[in-house]
Point group: C2
Chain length 309, copies 2
């Protein structure tokens, strides 16, 4: 077996990068010639975590096949969220916490998915199962991933296992969980300096639903109004993205990380699926979704179901 | 959560039934209202094992949705090998050792696949991870599954983990691994009393490859000639199955469990894929494949690759 590249999804977030770093280190300890890489540069939240723990961002790789034939995926499985040449690669392992879709292999593989809030929570289990200690810096990155994915335990995706893992990792990495966690989340809400296109691309994923392609972007903020003051420019940018990339429907989920609510901005069609899925009326292309913070648990399944009816 | 049905693939083999029984018992110990069921009656090998350890065959269920909405799959994931109404069911968990294909969920789930020889080897790990002891009868069923899937460790799918698990389970169940193992394998080779249609259905799976449907059946024997004396009748039955079920290509893999070789019988088209995949000439619809005993590792990937070229 030659070099094995390990990476998370496109538009990497803190878990995509943190879990890749942590799982690559584990694989190296197990004797695999593994390297964590990424399908994009870190966002501000992730960079804050990397800087805080003195780690370097993984090298950005676009085409994998030129340098490795074997790969391991973390924090995703759907091919349209993965490397551009994923279908040419031999997938040895997946560690993930999402639904499984648009994924297939020709060979048996190691696949570890659990319905927890964060991939890094599962990676911590794998360290334990293999009796390998997590280095302090990497523990800090894994902790950051759990805080990020669960919005400091407020997301409905969060489980007791995530909370326990975060507490354990906070101890190993030597940070105060709550104060560091809030600093981390705030580092990701600095949206004012970003163009609309950048903002839409921060944390966006595409989902095939029925015969349509739905793009769902999420941004975190501490003030919804600060984002919606740019509503018209955002809507124009979403429509432009739809045309450019063949998306049918674009949803922007703007999440207030302090109040744990979200407001949705919708561009494209069929928007009646949004009305159907969330039992809301769209007013001025918007809908307020109280208590909604999780794309994975509170947006994607409901919307998928509406499309499949 | 209401009742949870746990089952293996269609045309169940010893692992499909053994892993379902074992995983259902584990789930019950963990507080889940679980029941092992099956998508068919046990074959002779499996019945031999059930009888030997004093267990009852799982109830055969064809439509799941009328009695449960939540299910767990063992020893398979591809929907065409699963319950007829699998797309209506909520899949909570999968424990498997096959490639992943034709599988998707709307929600995150527990998915545990490892590239080992037998699902029951993974189920034993899950017992250990949860600190639950395996009851002796169930240990016997799991051991039988490992012997069956690995042809008593001779299959290239067999790993050290399978061997270790089998030895441990033999101790718990109180049988002599080698003598019991040979008796079990021989119990599955009693083909003389079966019609051609029964023989083709003993252990058969369908695989979509490119735009074709390939049916691959496997039977075990201690004497290849005993099967091939019925070649014409078998070929006619295969062609009939193709027409009746829309298969394009039907492969019957006849495996000598003592010599660890197989001979292939082919009906339908495109048969040049077989030539291409295994670098053999078909003579009289047949090809001898020395050292080939595993459909999963030595047939499906090679054929998939030939179709995708």
């Amino acid at each position: 077996m030659g070099k094995v590249l390990i990476f998370g999804h496109q538009n990497p977030d803190t878990d995509a990068i943190g879990a890749a770093i942590a799982y690559a280190n584990l694989q190296k300890e197990l004797g695999v010639d593994a390297e964590a890489v990424a399908l994009g540069t870190p966002n501000e939240e992730t960079q804050f975590a990397l800087d805080h723990f003195g780690l370097t961002a993984p090298r950005v790789v676009e085409k994998m096949a030129v340098e490795a034939s074997d790969v391991m995926l973390v924090d995703h499985n759907e091919f349209q969220q993965s490397a551009a040449d994923i279908e040419e690669l031999n997938i040895l392992a997946v560690v993930d916490h999402h639904r499984i879709a648009n994924f297939q292999t020709a060979n048996p593989l190691y696949y570890r998915a659990e319905p927890v809030g964060c991939t890094s929570t599962i990676v911590l289990k794998l360290y334990k199962e293999n009796n390998i200690a997590v280095p302090a810096k990497i523990a800090g990155m894994m902790l950051s991933a759990i805080v990020s994915d669960t919005l400091l335990f407020k997301s409905p995706t969060c489980t007791q296992e995530d909370i326990d893992a975060a507490n354990e990792l906070a101890e190993v990495s030597g940070v105060d969980l709550n104060s560091y966690g809030l600093d981390l989340l705030k580092a990701g809400t600095n949206l004012g300096t970003k163009t609309e296109a950048e903002l839409l691309d921060l944390d966006a994923k595409s989902f095939p639903m029925a015969d349509k392609t739905v793009r769902i972007a999420q941004v975190n903020t501490v003030d919804l109004a600060e984002v919606f003051i740019r509503q018209e420019a955002l809507r124009d940018a979403m429509l432009e993205e739809n045309v450019k990339n063949g998306y049918d429907l674009f949803l922007l989920l703007v999440t207030n990380v302090l109040d744990s609510d979200s407001e949705l901005l919708v561009a494209g069609e069929p928007r009646e699926m949004v009305t159907e899925a969330f039992q809301v009326k769209l007013e001025n292309d918007r809908a307020f979704l109280p208590g909604v913070v999780s794309r994975k648990k509170q947006i994607v399944p409901q919307l998928t179901e509406a499309f499949e009816k």
